[in-house]
């Protein structure tokens, strides 16, 4: 049952073969058993979860069920959920019990889904290894000494370890796709503006976008159907007609044009990852797709551009954590500034402080044009690269991450090399395009490899179709990590 797809679970619930309460219990027990070794969850509240499960069972009994009614979903702790501690992985919010719901949480509640718990994450979503959480490192279910990736590492580990059927994530520079790749699951970051950011604790407002993380493309489609939709409370939320992201899953791939950016297969990409990606591309050719080489000439620049824009926005977004209205306040302080400085110095971890410092610097008098404005200009060049690329192909494919999961602590003292590992994912956020990661094999160390699929704006349904057809032909997404499956 823990390995069933959302569609299967939905069927079992509808057929009353299991109840939502039983299903929720099953996963809560699994969490109880495995979370101590994975540390995928920050907050659990069985009573709340089971109350929702009972309500869902009533809905099902009354035949008012929708596809996700009664299905437990793990929520990244970046989403504010009323009555739930919502920490964003930070000491700053360690005791913040949210008085309101994020749009995404409301959407799952309306769908009758069960909030299974709040998953661990890099502090304020700043990290690529999930080592910066105030609540401790998350372990990769495939290798407890390896990182799960970040920042949505808790959600990734929870789904990969089958502690949850599906989870939510957010992606500012790869935070859904990279952990999905490193833990062998499927995740999609939609077009910027498709999922409301209301109640999603901001890191970099112009780049943040929420999306689903699940076992398969089909599951992601069902999740996205719930998450997506216009929300007037977010000025950047797009006013578009609702769409069924599962509608095209079964379309054949005959004639699909796949663009392969030569910059994504250049030096820096480890051989074993390259091998798995090539194999996946061969599989796509078998399915009737053709591949064309394309170029995204400014790919290299996406890293400096990102590490100017994201910290700049973050330095301002995180100014509200001042110990006045909520959140951490230093136990001892002198005057007002001392209270600010001590509360923020003690409440934020070092990676967050690092980025606040960078962001403050690039916005400060005399540097704004050279850094911030220059970065925004380059952002346009990067977006234009994709624009011209999509004149030659339907989707772009390549590796999600240059390597498989690295070891805990391996890069934590070397921010720059950590930042460089986002090379293939960042540009997508800068352009606001949708991107996803699909399991496509294993590296020399036996850890999962992710295939990245990048689509044009609003082509999520097509991307999910492209991923689904591959998953019908392969079983990488069904492979299970070697842990406690007996539970």
């Amino acid at each position: 049952m823990i390995n069933s797809s959302l569609k299967e679970l939905s069927g079992l619930l509808a057929a009353k073969k299991i109840s939502s309460v039983e299903l929720t219990q099953t996963f809560l027990h699994r969490i109880e058993a495995l979370n101590p070794s994975l540390n995928a969850f920050i907050t659990l509240d069985a009573d709340r979860s089971l109350a929702q499960a009972r309500a869902a069972d009533a809905q099902i009994a009354a035949n008012q069920a929708s596809p996700l009614t009664g299905i437990p979903v793990a929520q990244k702790d970046i989403f504010c959920a009323q009555g739930w501690r919502s920490t964003c992985g930070s000491k700053m919010l360690a005791n913040f019990v949210s008085p309101y719901d994020a749009h995404v949480i409301e959407q799952f509640d309306r769908a009758g889904a069960v909030n299974l718990g709040k998953t661990n994450m890099d502090e304020f979503a700043m990290g690529s290894s999930n080592e910066t959480s105030f609540f401790g490192k998350v372990k990769n279910p495939w290798d407890l000494n390896a990182v799960p990736g970040g920042s949505s590492g808790g959600s990734a580990a929870a789904v990969a370890g089958r502690l949850a059927p599906a989870a939510t994530g957010t992606d500012t520079g790869g935070s859904i796709r990279q952990p999905a790749a490193l833990t062998g699951i499927t995740g999609i970051k939609p077009t910027y503006g498709v999922v409301s950011r209301y109640g999603m604790i901001a890191f970099a407002s112009s780049l943040d976008q929420a999306g689903p993380m699940a076992q398969s493309a089909e599951d992601c489609a069902l999740m996205l159907n719930v998450m997506a939709g216009f929300d007037p409370r977010d000025s950047t939320s797009l006013e578009r007609d609702r769409e069924d992201y599962a509608r095209d899953l079964n379309q054949p791939l005959q004639g699909l044009k796949i663009g392969l950016p030569k910059e994504y297969f250049a030096e820096g990409l480890s051989a074993d990852v390259a091998r798995s990606v090539e194999a996946a591309l061969a599989e796509y050719r078998k399915l009737g797709a053709e591949t064309v080489e394309i170029s995204l000439p400014n790919t290299r620049l996406s890293i400096p551009v990102y590490y100017v824009l994201a910290p700049a926005e973050a330095s301002s977004n995180l100014a509200r954590y001042d110990g006045v209205r909520y959140g951490y306040r230093a136990p001892e302080y002198g005057d007002l500034n001392d209270m600010y400085k001590k509360s923020r110095a003690q409440g934020f971890g070092s990676e967050v402080k690092r980025r606040i410092m960078i962001g403050t610097y690039v916005l400060s008098a005399g540097y704004y044009d050279a850094y911030y404005i220059q970065a925004q200009k380059l952002r346009r060049l990067i977006a234009q690269d994709f624009e011209s690329a999509f004149k030659q192909c339907d989707v772009i494919m390549g590796p999600t991450s240059p390597s498989t999961a690295f070891n805990l602590g391996e890069k934590s003292d070397d921010p720059v090399s950590m930042y460089l590992s986002d090379i293939y994912t960042i540009a997508v956020n800068l352009a606001g395009l949708p991107g996803m990661s699909v399991p496509c094999g294993f590296g020399d160390n036996g850890l999962p490899v992710g295939l990245q699929i990048i689509g044009n704006y609003f082509s999520e349904a097509r991307m999910l179709n492209v991923a689904h057809q591959y998953q019908l032909a392969t079983d990488w997404h069904l492979r299970l990590p070697p842990l406690g499956n007996g539970v």
Partner: protein, 95 residues
């Protein structure tokens, strides 16, 4: 533009993050290579290119001027570090 110790202290003050001398030194060591990474941008000629602030070229939506929020002070102040008489308390502000 190479970062100096004074820059670090100035930034830390602007960001209201406490740093002592040794921490400032440590920051300097950490931030310098990151700024080095960022420096890569400087070479590129971007004359004539408009800065891109948003992923989509959209215009601001307008909200109707009607009250939608009611008083939830108690719920909001339940998570506040220090309140009294409905006010958030902070160290004395000198005008």
């Amino acid at each position: 533009m190479s970062l100096t110790l004074d820059d670090v202290k100035r930034i830390a003050h602007l960001a209201r993050i406490e740093v002592d001398e040794t921490e400032a030194q440590a920051w300097l060591g950490q931030l310098t290579p990151i700024l080095g990474l960022i420096e890569e941008m400087q070479g590129v000629d971007t004359s004539g290119i408009a800065p891109m602030a948003h992923a989509q070229e959209l215009m601001q939506r307008l909200r109707e001027d009607a009250v939608s929020e009611t008083d939830r002070r108690d719920a909001y102040q339940a998570v506040a570090p220090q309140v009294e008489a409905g006010l958030f308390l902070v160290p004395k502000v000198i005008e």
